[in-house]
Structure formats: structure tokens, C-alpha cells
């Protein structure tokens, strides 16, 4: 049974597989196993493949921008469902924080934020989908790591959410810091990086814990609510989403300690830097828009004519030729921002404090407000 591993950035990584290629050990192990079958399987499926390959247009992957424009649609890989980040509504329209990035890119490139094919990917299929060209970009809360960048040959174009592993405990426990958790029983999803982080954190603080290994988030929450474990640990955004589903969300507290770095961001394949630039600067445009106070409500006014702030003018295409440099129209950033608002608006609408997910900006505030969200200049 497939169970939800809600919100966890690094699902699918076993804790301690020593491999010459340090990251993605599970994926590699599976690929090796499949490689042996592949020789035999290849023949069987080859004929079938040919039939359709003959019908399909064999396009080159070099110029993704041209492909996207020719197709008229952006193929964007998203999660099969992560609360607040990617989920379809009752009419099948995808919404969420990651989905907004896809929509912004589609708006910038094609001028239509609905010109997106959302391809649901699991933690296991996301990277092949991207490297095989099935999708043009991946926005599926994926942690930026060295090996994913270098070994799997992907370009992380930025960070749209700084996440980290946290702890949730029942209020009755009377604990206010993770340092007081010595001897606690901890519900932990097996085979994830959270398991490793947990072990490292407790060792570093010279504490002991008793793990309650569980397979899925559903199971974890049940165990936690039944009191089978004192602590539940996963990514902080996941904890918040989980807590929001409790009948009495105030009965649990999320401890202030964040014990790992999980910078989540959109990524593209190596080999097409122009396309990578477009996605990178679309994300930066959303971030810069918040910094300069450009919102979906005042953007019409601001972009009508060149204003006082030259950087806003350059961003909105009323001055300079930034769009042309990217191979897009002058109104690319305007379209991207109008698709769902600036970074702050997207955050508030999907995962902000007024939503059931209820995440505070925290690290994801603008750099001026003490956060890490920062866009290079539009010059």
C-alpha cells in the first residue's frame, strides 16, 4: 500500500547505505537491480515502444524553451500530493506553493498560467522524469544537495522554501526544548534522512531515545495521538500541516529547535542553461516583487508606465531589455507575478498563517525582515 509521506522532502533515502555515490543510495540500488532486468525486458517492450515512438514527434531536448513554446504547454513535475505545496481541488485544478512556481514559469514563457501540464511524480520517479525529458522542470519540495546537483546532473535554480526537521510533542509533556527530550520515545519514518538527522542530534547532545519505527505519516499520527510515542519528528512544515488536522491543534506544540537544513527548490536538467536561467529568474522575479512591494493588485498600475524605481521598471519591462535577454517578452515578469502574486502572496495564500497549514514566515521571510529569501538584482 502506498501511504502518504506527507511533506517530507527526502523520502526514499535509507539511513545508512554506504555507497560510493553518497546521495540517492536507494535510487541507485534500484537502478542497478533494474539494469539487470532491462536487458531482457528491453526486447519485450521494444516493439511496443517503436510503435508509439514512430508516432510521436522526436524532439531534441537541447532547447527546452523552443520545445515548450512549440508544445504550448509547460510540463511541470509536482508531488502527487503534499498539503499546501501541491494538490488538486475538486475540479482537478492544481494548487499549492510549488504549483505556483510552475504557473509563474508558464505565465512568463507562454503568457498563460494555465498552460501547464502537471505531472504527478513520486519520490521515486521524480528524478527520472526530469532527466528523461518527460518534464521540463521539477517543483516538488526537493532538497538541494550536492550529489543531486553534481551526480544526478540537475541544476537547482534557487530555494523557494527553507525547511528543516523539527519535533512535535503533546503540550501535557511540559517540554519546551528539544534538549529536554532525553529518554523520549520518538515516532520516526524509517528509511528517510530524518532518521539519520535524529540519531545525529541525540548523539551530539548526549541523549538517548527509543525509536518507534513507522512507515507512513498516517501511521505516525495515529501512534502519536494514541500516545505510543512522546515525540513525532519530520520536516517542520509537515509537522505544522499534521497538527492542523488534529481536533485540538493547541494540544500539541512544535519545539523551536530545527535540526537539519532542507532547502527546497525547483530544479531543471543540466545541459540547457538558458532554460535554467528562465526558471531561476522567474522565481527571483516573484521574490523581488515582494521586496519592491509589487503585488497582484498594484501591478497593473506599476507596469502601465515607467515609475520612479528603475529596478521595478526593469523587472516589469517598462525599461531596459531583460526579457529579450532571456528570450521572452518584455512583460514576462509581469505575467509571472500576476499568475499568483508575489512570493509573499503565494506564501500567505497556500501555506501562510491564515491557512490550515499555518506556517509562519520564519526563515522564509525577506532578507530585510531577517529571513533568507533574497533575490539578486535585476540589472
Amino acid at each position: 500500500m502506498i501511504a502518504p509521506k506527507l511533506m517530507h522532502a527526502d523520502e526514499g533515502q535509507p539511513p545508512s547505505l554506504k555507497s560510493s555515490r553518497p546521495q540517492e543510495p536507494e535510487e541507485n540500488a534500484r537502478n542497478r537491480a533494474e539494469n539487470q532486468e532491462e536487458v531482457i525486458m528491453k526486447k519485450t517492450v521494444f516493439l511496443g515502444a517503436l510503435t508509439v515512438a514512430g508516432l510521436a514527434a522526436g524532439a531534441s531536448a537541447a532547447a527546452t524553451l523552443d520545445d515548450v513554446k512549440a508544445r504550448g504547454k509547460l510540463n511541470c513535475g509536482v508531488a502527487t500530493g503534499v498539503p499546501g505545496f501541491a494538490a488538486p481541488d475538486a475540479n482537478g485544478r492544481w494548487e499549492g506553493f510549488d504549483v505556483s512556481v510552475c504557473r509563474a514559469v508558464a505565465a512568463a514563457v507562454l503568457g498563460d498560467s494555465d498552460a501547464v501540464e502537471f505531472v504527478p511524480t513520486t519520490g521515486k520517479t521524480r528524478f527520472t522524469a526530469l532527466s528523461s525529458g518527460e518534464i521540463d522542470m521539477l517543483a516538488r519540495n526537493t532538497t538541494w544537495t550536492l550529489s543531486r546537483d553534481v551526480d544526478l546532473k540537475f541544476t537547482f535554480v534557487g530555494v523557494n522554501y527553507y525547511d528543516g526537521q523539527g519535533f512535535m510533542v503533546p503540550k501535557d509533556l511540559g517540554v519546551s526544548s528539544a534538549k529536554e527530550l532525553d529518554g523520549a520515545t520518538v515516532c520516526i519514518q524509517t528509511g528517510t534522512t530524518t532518521e539519520l538527522n535524529l540519531a545525529e542530534f541525540f548523539r551530539a547532545n548526549n541523549m538517548s531515545y527509543e525509536p518507534v519505527p513507522i512507515e507512513t505519516q498516517a501511521e505516525a499520527l495515529q501512534q502519536y495521538n494514541a500516545g505510543a510515542c512522546d515525540v513525532y519528528t519530520t520536516d517542520a512544515s509537515g509537522l505544522a500541516a499534521a497538527r492542523s488536522t488534529f481536533e485540538d491543534p493547541t494540544s500539541s506544540v512544535i519545539l523551536p529547535e530545527i535540526i537539519s537544513k532542507e532547502p527546497l527548490g525547483p530544479l531543471v536538467r543540466h545541459g540547457d542553461n538558458e532554460w535554467g536561467d528562465i526558471v531561476r529568474w522567474t522565481l527571483n522575479a516573484l521574490i523581488a516583487a515582494e521586496e519592491f512591494g509589487i503585488t497582484s493588485t498594484n501591478i497593473g498600475e506599476l507596469s502601465a508606465a515607467a515609475g520612479d524605481n528603475p529596478e521595478v521598471n526593469r523587472l516589469l519591462g517598462t525599461e531596459g531589455n531583460l526579457g529579450e535577454m532571456l528570450g521572452l517578452d518584455a512583460g514576462w515578469a509581469k505575467a509571472a507575478i500576476m499568475s499568483g502574486g508575489n512570493y509573499g502572496e503565494v506564501f500567505e495564500k497556500n501555506i501562510g498563517e491564515n491557512t490550515p497549514i499555518g506556517l509562519a514566515r520564519g526563515l522564509n521571510a525577506q532578507w530585510r525582515d531577517g529571513g533568507l529569501i533574497y533575490s539578486p538584482p535585476f540589472r
Binding site: 502506498i2 534500484r30 537502478n31 515512438a53 502527487t80 501541491a86 488538486p88 504527478p120 521515486k124
Partner: protein
């Protein structure tokens, strides 16, 4: 000694058995309360059943149908344990159809209804030809009406008229009269199996849409293969003709079909709106994969089973190799090959439909199991049956068709249906590779902020949907076994 003795001169009238041995009371005292141990067990079991049912009903009967999100539900049930059925009201369409465009729902529904009409002549021998044609024409008329446009309405009128005519004929002549007419040589309607044969071409076209010429060119491939076999059989011998019958259609599909369809579509553009595979989901996806894999795996399984028993070394080696390889590999591995490895092998940008890939893998997987089930049936046949077929002078295929297979398949029915049911349930594995079957969708629905934290309601409904299909298959297999039973028990 006296002469006194008693001889009953008449039979006593029959009397009703004592009240304690008949009816409900009698049955209970005999089966449930005959002894202390059984009585105790009965009471304990009843208590358990009542407890379980009450617990379930207490949860399931919950006035949350109208709830718009989980918070609403929690307010309505206010602290008690209660199901949140609002999620089903909100998402039942998605659970059934995935993201299939709502205005086109009639297409999957039509193909689903047509599936049964196509299956009736194959599976049941219970309704008359005229009944079958009447149903078909009526359903098609409704379908044509949905297409809309002048052409669609005109077609609907013609079909409805046909249905009315057949229906009129059907009600005006009774069964016995009709039997006499047929015996007297009256013209009958064509065999409805014709539609069953065409259905595999119609259904994908309805589901995926696109040009009307696509199913035509696909069908043409088979026609060409058949023609090649008939025309060349006299010239190059049976073996050569058989090989040609396979090669010609494949060449046609590979090289000529797409071009031909384009040209034909250019001359006479006819078609319905295309729907991408990505939009398939929910029960629609499970049924599509399940039905296609089930219907194709049976013939492939028969061929493999025969191949495995063949005296031809290469054929046998190929069949054994295929069966053992596929059975030695978990289905999930094959699905991963379909979803990830194929992507890497094929040229970038190639769009090889993911559902098609999954269907191929599921079919191959089921075929291998099917082959072994049928081989069991073949092995159970007494040697005499084979020898009798030989003695009658039948060639290999005739012997298989007329004598061996009918018996072997009859023996294998429970195994075959088990494989079908297993395969249908295995379709839920596709959620691992990111396809949104009902189980995958339950995760996706739960990811919407309205419904984060909903588990059992979705699982209960999905279980119910699968149960309906699997249970019907199982009952059908029992019906078939009874109907085909020829021994005297």
C-alpha cells in the same frame, strides 16, 4: 395366554413435529445451542458481532455528508468518533474518473456500458440476439446524442429508429413463434459477436478520443494480416503465410498507419476531442488497465501454455523463458521498468504513453500466470482426449479448438478468474509510479488543505468499489462453472 392383543387397525395421522425441532427455534437449538460449549460460543460470537457492527455503524452513520472540509466535520460530530463523508461528496467524481474532463464523462460511461453489451454474447447465453441488438442500438443512440451536432443528432435518430424497430419486433413475436420462424429459415439478425470484436477498437477511441481514423487504421492492420494469410497460403505454404500474417500488420502499424490516418483525416476530418492519458485516474484508470490486461492476457496465456507443451524446441524454450522470467519478477519491478527505465532508453522528447506502458507490463505479467493456470487445465485432461482427437484426424489447431481447449479452460475457470481478480487488484500498484488510481488519488485528495487527515472514509469507499467488481467476477465464475458442468453429480 389370552387373546388380548393390540393391533392398530389404521395409521395414525401425521402430526406436526414438536415445536422445538422445527422452524427458527429448531434450527437454532440444533445448530447454535446444542450443548454448553456451543451455546457459549454462540453467545460470545453474537456479542462480538453486535459490538463490531455497532462500532462500525456508530462511526459510519454520521451526518457529515454536507461538510465542506475536515473542520466542518469535526464541528458536526463534536468530539465523537464519526466518519467525515463530506470528502466523498466533494471528490466522488475524482475517485471515479480522475481528472477526466467533466463535460466528457459520458464517454467513459458509454464505453463502460458498451463493455457489458460486448461481453454479453461472450459471457452469457441468456439473452436473444434481438435483445442484444436492441440494447446496443439504444445505448449507441444515447451516445450519439451526447456527441451533439447535426451529424450526432441525425445518427441518434437513425439508431433510435433501429432500436425501436427491433424492440417492436421483439415484443410482437413471442419466443416460441420466433423459434418456429427461425426453424423455417427466417432471416436472423447478425451475430452480436461482431460488435464484441469491434469493441476493442471502439472503446480506446471513446476513452482517448482523437481522429475517427485511428481505430480504422488499427483495425485495417488485422484485416491486412488476414488478407495476407489468405492470399499467400496457397503460394508459400501455411508456415510462411502465418508468419506473414504477423509481419504485415506490424509493418503496417509501424510505418504506414500513422501516415494513412493523417491523410484520411485530412480528406475527411472526423473525430472527437482528444483526452490525454495524464487526465485518467481513479476507477477509470483501474478499469482501463484491468479490462485491457485481462482480455489480452487470456489469449496470450493460452498461446504460452500451448507453446510450453509444444514439441518445437525454440517455441518451447521461448515460452518457458518468458513465463519463468515474468513470474520470477515482482510486478512492481516491471512497473518501474515501464515508468523510469524506458524513459531513459527512448530518445529524449519521445512521448510513449505511460498508461500504455503500464498496460503492456500488466498484460505480460498476467499472461505468464495465466499460462500456468491453463497448463494446469491441460495437464488435467486424460491422455485419451488427445489421442481421440488424433484418431478423428483433426489437425493440431482443430484438435485444440474443438476438443482440448473447451475442456482445459473449463477445468481452469476458478484459477483463471482468480488471476483476473488478482490482476485487477494489482492495478493499484500503479500509484507507486505516480499514476493516480483510486489509492493514489486518496493520497492526493488528502493533500488538499480541506481534507488533510482523512483516511478511513476514502479507504472504505475504495474498498467498496473494488469489492463490487471482484465479487461480481467471482460470482460470475461460479455461475459459469455451474452452467458448464456436464458430469452427473
Amino acid at each position: 395366554m389370552s387373546d388380548l392383543h393390540f393391533v392398530r387397525s389404521e395409521m395414525l395421522p401425521e402430526r406436526a413435529p414438536p415445536a422445538s425441532t422445527v422452524g427458527v427455534v429448531g434450527w437454532m437449538s440444533e445448530n447454535l445451542f446444542n450443548g454448553i460449549v456451543n451455546s457459549t460460543l454462540t453467545i460470545l460470537s453474537v456479542a462480538f458481532i453486535v459490538w463490531a457492527v455497532m462500532g462500525f455503524l456508530g462511526w459510519a452513520i454520521s451526518p457529515t455528508w454536507a461538510a465542506a472540509n475536515l473542520r466542518d466535520c469535526q464541528e458536526i460530530v463534536a468530539g465523537h468518533e464519526g466518519a467525515c463523508w463530506g470528502v466523498i461528496r466533494d471528490r466522488w467524481k475524482q475517485l471515479l474518473f480522475g481528472f477526466y474532463p467533466q463535460e466528457l464523462y459520458w464517454r467513459p460511461i458509454l464505453s463502460f456500458v458498451l463493455l457489458f453489451i460486448a461481453l454479453i454474447p461472450v459471457l452469457f447465453a441468456m439473452i436473444s440476439r434481438r435483445m442484444n441488438w436492441f440494447l446496443l442500438l439504444a445505448v449507441l443512440a444515447i451516445g450519439a446524442l451526447q456527441v451533439g451536432g447535426t451529424l450526432g443528432v441525425a445518427l441518434a435518430v437513425v439508431l433510435a429508429a433501429g432500436a425501436a424497430f427491433v424492440g417492436f419486433q421483439m415484443v410482437t413475436t413471442n419466443k416460441a413463434d420466433r423459434a418456429e420462424q427461425i426453424a423455417a429459415g427466417a432471416k436472423r439478425l447478425p451475430n452480436p459477436l461482431i460488435f464484441s470484436v469491434l469493441y476493442p477498437f471502439i472503446a480506446p477511441w471513446l476513452l482517448w478520443g482523437g481522429s475517427f481514423w485511428l481505430p480504422i487504421v488499427a483495425l485495417l492492420g488485422f484485416v491486412l494480416g488476414w488478407a495476407a494469410m489468405r492470399l499467400t497460403a496457397g503460394v508459400i505454404g501455411t508456415l510462411g503465410a502465418t508468419i506473414l500474417a504477423f509481419v504485415v500488420p506490424v509493418l503496417w502499424w509501424l510505418f504506414a498507419a500513422a501516415g494513412f490516418a493523417d491523410v484520411a483525416h485530412g480528406i475527411l476530418p472526423m473525430g472527437i476531442e482528444a483526452v490525454e492519458s495524464r487526465l485518467f485516474g481513479g476507477m477509470l484508470l483501474s478499469l482501463t488497465i484491468g479490462v485491457v490486461a485481462i482480455s489480452i492476457s487470456l489469449p496470450i496465456g493460452i498461446v504460452l501454455a500451448l507453446g510450453r507443451q509444444s514439441d518445437l524446441m525454440i517455441v518451447k524454450a521461448l515460452c518457458v523463458g518468458f513465463i519463468e522470467f515474468i513470474r520470477g519478477v515482482p510486478l512492481i519491478t516491471l512497473l518501474f521498468v515501464a515508468s523510469t527505465l524506458l524513459n531513459i532508453f527512448m530518445p529524449k522528447g519521445t512521448n510513449f504513453d505511460i498508461i500504455l506502458r503500464v498496460i503492456i507490463m500488466a498484460t505480460l505479467f498476467a499472461s505468464a500466470y495465466m499460462a500456468e493456470v491453463i497448463r494446469g487445465g491441460l495437464a488435467a485432461l486424460p491422455r485419451g482426449q488427445y489421442e481421440a482427437a488424433d484418431a478423428l484426424g483433426l489437425d493440431y489447431w482443430k484438435a485444440q479448438r474443438l476438443i482440448i481447449m473447451p475442456q482445459a479452460l473449463k477445468i481452469s475457470i476458478p484459477g483463471i478468474v482468480s488471476t483476473f481478480i488478482g490482476l485487477f487488484k494489482d492495478t493499484t500498484l500503479v500509484s507507486i509510479i505516480g499514476l493516480l488510481d483510486p489509492l493514489g488519488l486518496s493520497n492526493t485528495i488528502r493533500a488538499h488543505t480541506d481534507w488533510v487527515g482523512i483516511y478511513w472514509e476514502l479507504f472504505a469507499v475504495i474498498a467498496l468499489m473494488f469489492f463490487v467488481f471482484c465479487f461480481s467476477m467471482s460470482r460470475y465464475s461460479m455461475y459459469l462453472e455451474r452452467r458448464l458442468r456436464t458430469d452427473h453429480r
